[in-house]
Assembly symmetry: C2
Homo-oligomer: 339 residues x 2
């Protein structure tokens, strides 16, 4: 005997398919007695509700939400900030009884899943820029986080202001400043930005932060040397150390490092300590993100805390709400021993 369907159950009970469907979806459309009879007959027959794939085809919604990560899943799951975000999304989605589908930002084709999902939460601009065009045209709901798409709802923090605040808190009038930036240009290794063209699409967050740093520096009359603005392709130990070593061996040696992620800042501090530098006496460091790990190391890191898990929850809630506004979440500047 094959798997029972709505139709076969209906026939077995001598009622119409509409009634069975209503028994599951609109209890007010039939008598209580019949409904109970149907429901118990269903368990009897091993029918556990309408087929979700058919339902999804008919209703046009599945209860599955895709989260598009900026990079490969691989990288994302190992990044503390991204996985915090994912935790938040997961928590809220569980509350909503929805399902989470992970989608890599390296993928080329959105429409391998578009039909399956209720929409997309995009965490950071996808590495494959082709996806952006597809997202723009997508008929389904699209919500962006940490970047913007015209006409689409978004969840962000005020990166410019946050970066400004962090710089103001750490800078002094006579400082030599270096910036360890994240994904500023289109290069796969750590290197000074110099005159390479800025990578507009992928890095709006980074550029805002840079603007903030520069506003703060401007107010103090400080300028950023050409070779003191570095591009780091991925927020990890290796790439950060390369940049930190280079920057800290320049002369005049920087007295302040403005870092666009905590992981970068942490690595930079390690390098500095290895070079025998005193923190914060000879070098002050400020990070960005706010991750638990910075609390376990000494000196503890001054940083902008942006509570990625809350951001994830907010994103999932905003996705569900149907509202199309651009949300700005609060952040918090927390000073540690590094400044």
């Amino acid at each position: 005997m094959s798997k029972p369907t709505l139709k076969s159950v209906a026939k077995a009970l001598g009622v119409s398919t509409a009634t069975i469907s209503n028994a599951f979806n609109r209890p007010d459309q039939l008598s209580v007695a019949l409904r109970e009879k149907i429901l118990s007959a269903c368990t009897e027959l091993g029918y556990d509700g309408p087929n979700k794939a058919a339902q999804s085809l008919r209703k046009g919604s599945s209860g599955i939400v895709a989260v598009i990560l900026s990079d490969s899943l691989e990288y994302m799951v190992s990044d503390p900030v991204a996985s915090q975000f994912l935790q938040g999304v997961a928590r809220e989605l569980e509350r909503q009884q929805k399902h989470l589908l992970l989608f890599s930002g390296n993928s080329t084709n959105l429409d391998t899943i578009t039909d399956f999902v209720d929409g997309f939460i995009c965490y950071g601009a996808p590495r494959n820029l082709g996806l952006i065009g597809q997202l723009r045209q997508c008929k389904k709901r699209v919500l962006t986080v940490d970047f913007d798409l015209p006409g689409r709802p978004s969840v962000n923090i005020d990166n410019e202001q946050a970066a400004y605040d962090s710089a103001v808190a750490v800078l002094k009038p006579d400082d030599v400043v270096a910036v360890l930036g994240l994904r500023l240009i289109d290069a796969l290794d750590s290197r000074p930005v110099a005159d390479a063209p800025m990578w507009d699409n992928l890095s709006s967050v980074s550029h805002r932060r840079l603007d903030g740093y520069q506003r703060a520096m401007g107010e103090l009359g400080l300028t950023l040397a050409d070779d003191a603005l570095w591009h780091i392709p991925e927020s990890n130990q290796h790439f950060a150390e390369v940049a930190a070593k280079a920057v800290l061996s320049q002369s005049p040696r920087p007295t302040v490092l403005l870092c666009m992620s905590d992981l970068i800042a942490l690595s930079a501090m390690r390098v500095a300590l290895q070079l025998g530098l005193q923190i914060p006496e000879q070098l002050r460091v400020v990070g960005f993100d706010g991750i638990e790990e910075t609390l376990r190391y000494h000196p503890t890191l001054s940083s902008v805390w942006q509570f990625s898990d809350k951001k994830g929850e907010a994103a999932a809630r905003a996705f569900q709400s149907g509202l199309d506004d651009n949300q700005l979440l609060p952040y918090e500047l927390r000073l540690g021993e590094s400044s």
Copy 2:
């Protein structure tokens, strides 16, 4: 004008729907000329291939694979071992052009997604035991990792032997042994197992490891005191520290700690050092799993490395292969400064 469908495209071109379908799915069924005409007409019309939801309904497969985690997504994403595993799965799935849906082991109902996916990769027995029954009866492909379901393919390591090996490597004839076990009984806090009933379903891995420890101890004539076998509900710092503190203040004080995860072992070492104990002189510690973090701390941890990312890849490959065997993956005992 509404979204184009296979039917509307067919009408526009004056051919049958079967032909359009074949143009996408079975190119050998129509002439090259017509196919190209159709394909270009499709881009013209903004039709980007057959609707996946309908396709899934018809074909009965979607290209989506669900990974059922043992706990909440929240916990899983933050656990280094689980996220390593997830990375591996994601990597292999990307290769196969399949999609990854994350499913919490706390969920009550499998059939909210069964119809959407091609099957399930279960990473550890789900915390909600009700799911196990549902998985047993599930018509779709089910592959288990780190536990077994009768008649289903699985991916494991030989936990008993691995635990045995690790214990043999660290134990000496006059040792006082304590075991910090993971999820041995049904309790939400850290506590001695004592005479609580073992939690069979959820902890097969842990029980195998315990068997391995005990075999090794038996060969050396060592026994495990009643209050020296501890249950830890979750592999995290807090629960591990509670157990470690308790065990290390017993007398006679243990000279060896057999820990069922590296996170537990790491926390235990921290506690030991705080108590002023010398490692490995006064206390030897061995862990389980193999995570990068243990290489950054001193003393470095002796542990069983099980390469969770490879396990993830193997699981995704085995899922795809259709083979129904029970795979045993290699592990590696790596000795560090802790023993």
